[in-house]
């Protein structure tokens, strides 16, 4: 079983995506989805040699809902900055976020989250993978912003990836 389905999460994702692309629930579509879900993980296995174990469960769902909520808030926040803040009053700065996360996948998710949420875009990572370079559009207190990102997103990701 483990040899036939080395990555159950990817298998399920491929089946669901395939059915969404087809936009109908049929036996033929489901069968082809299962075939893709079996073959693709088998052939792509060399690309993820040391995959972190992801816990699919309530923390992951809570994290996705939190990020979607933050994206909506971020949109209104950035829209207000664009419309009503004069350029010389924008306090944009670079943030240097020390990382507790170890795996490349978890850091990628964190960087993507940072780019999608309030006033921050992740720019670069340090060569040793221990620090993240982030640009903030408007921050009064850089240290507080770093602490907010660490407690709001990174702490939750540490629970999901382990």
């Amino acid at each position: 079983m483990k040899r036939l389905f080395p990555h159950p999460g990817l298998t399920w994702l491929l089946i669901v995506m395939w059915l969404l692309v087809l936009n109908e629930l049929s036996v033929g579509g489901l069968l082809l989805g299962v075939i893709f879900g079996t073959l693709v993980p088998l052939f792509t296995a060399p690309f993820w040699p040391e995959r972190p174990s992801v816990r699919y469960g309530w923390p992951l769902i809570a994290y996705v809902l939190l990020v979607i909520g933050d994206i909506i808030i971020a949109n209104f926040h950035v829209a207000r900055l664009i419309l009503f803040r004069r350029n010389r009053d924008l306090r944009s700065c670079w943030l240097n976020i020390p990382l507790d996360l170890q795996s490349a996948e978890a850091i990628t998710v964190l960087a993507g989250t940072i780019s999608l949420t309030p006033g921050t875009v992740s720019t670069d990572i340090s060569t040793d993978g221990r620090h993240l370079l982030v640009h903030a559009l408007d921050t009064g207190d850089a240290q507080a912003e770093v602490a907010r990102i660490k407690s709001r997103y990174e702490r939750r990701l540490l629970e999901i990836f382990r």
């Binding site: 969404l20 936009n23 664009i82 944009s92 020390p98 640009h135």
Partner: protein, 137 residues
């Protein structure tokens, strides 16, 4: 019932259009490249998102078939937007590094590397490649 749904659909489309407009306005007026990057990655995601939700409500309520493609468009947009922003940002700090660290007007200097052993990944190479990666080189 249809009238209420029509109001919701119209409101979502107007909201989406407004956010797309604000995002583009931000692209035009913000002072530096890094701050201009904030417009397209955020204001536009909600702009496209609410148009897609409006489309998801409109088609089933007007006797046409339900479609899941809007969900996929949203998903792919959320995956690709941060990557595109990251590539532009990396190209920007690389270009600034090549031109001798000359900062754009209104832009802050880059923070120093985290510590002496490490560099920002755009400028340096990872310290010790893993054995199997070295073998391929």
């Amino acid at each position: 019932m249809t009238a209420i749904l029509d109001f919701i659909i119209a409101a979502l489309i107007i909201l989406g259009g407004a956010f797309a407009l604000i995002g583009s306005w931000g692209l035009a007026r913000l002072p530096s490249l890094m701050s201009r990057l904030h417009g397209p990655t955020k204001a536009t995601t909600l702009g496209v998102g609410s148009c897609l939700i409006a489309s998801m409500i409109y088609f089933p309520t007007h006797g046409l078939s339900w479609s899941a493609h809007e969900l996929l468009i949203t998903l792919f947009l959320f995956i690709t937007a941060p990557i595109a922003a990251n590539m532009i940002a990396k190209a920007y700090i690389h270009g600034r590094h090549v031109s001798g660290g000359r900062a754009e007007v209104n832009e802050n200097p880059l923070p120093p590397p985290p510590h002496s052993g490490a560099e920002w990944a755009t400028f340096g190479v990872p310290p010790s490649p893993k054995p199997d990666e070295r073998a391929q080189d």
